[in-house]
Symmetry: C2
Subunit: 160 residues, 2 copies
Amino acid sequence: MTLIPKRQLEEVRRIFSDFLRDRGQRQTPERFAILDEVYATSGHFDADELYVGLKEKEVGVSRATVYNTLDLLIECDLVVKHQFGNKQAKYERAYSYWQHDHLICMDCNELFEFCDPRIQGIQEMVADIYQFEVKHHSLHIYGHCRRENCPNRPGSEAHS
Amino acid sequence: MTLIPKRQLEEVRRIFSDFLRDRGQRQTPERFAILDEVYATSGHFDADELYVGLKEKEVGVSRATVYNTLDLLIECDLVVKHQFGNKQAKYERAYSYWQHDHLICMDCNELFEFCDPRIQGIQEMVADIYQFEVKHHSLHIYGHCRRENCPNRPGSEAHS
DNA sequence: ATAACTGCAAAACATTTGCATACAG
DNA sequence: CTGTATGCAAATGTTTTGCAGTTAT
């Protein structure tokens, strides 16, 4: 849906490159291959999907490198990490994408994105009252969607 | 801090008992021992802390039973489960305790609780716009606290 | 040159599962 | 009695780690 234009991909590569240089870390082909794969993906993905996606292309990167690089990308705000109910972490590219929160269907696990300005006010209130330096937040709303193909639809077959 | 009075513990036991009866499930001593331990704990705990806490008392319950019973307690709304950044789930008793969200210090991992009525409005908005039947939410705000013993305090020693 | 990075496979970790035994109803 | 729950230990699945070999700088 939200494929990133070439210009932005270059911008993102430059951000990562600068970040690595500033920290005295190496610019390896693996790291940029992972960055490219992340930004070629729209939506949420997990570490293994990224690993498999890369393996299917010419690039061979190990899982360890995928995890390592994801951590770097999170540190420079090019990727965000989410822990939805399950134990497997999900990731998402973060550059030039609207700040949003998530709606999770407990039946089909589908994710929907939404945004509400009130959350900003809540963050400010909390920062003020608790003398907290707020960095980021995660708001997950869980419930049941009403889509045709959702296993919970009224009228779908019985369940144990 | 919020130790539960005897009356409420009885109430909670009754809720669990009714829940089990209604579902045709057994009222085992292990299940009630776990319930008691949960309600003897104030604040957040993980499955293993519960397991160890029980082992230190007379009761011997296996980890499998701890996990099983926690799921039952979640189903009858006596316990809530949280996934903070780490892969280990945290639990918290839910009966007769205010609905709240969490503030997490990224330095010391301390948890603070807060509540803001605006979150209610956000849930309603989302339910309406997305035709979603909202069940619950989790709002986590991450940042840096300003407590004396927090490793991030300005003036604390350098770190690698 | 040399310190950082990679890949691999093993380790760690929380949680789940299978099965023989125990016990609540 | 009978089927459900338990305990144990083994299995699972994700993420981390140790180390020998590789490579960016």
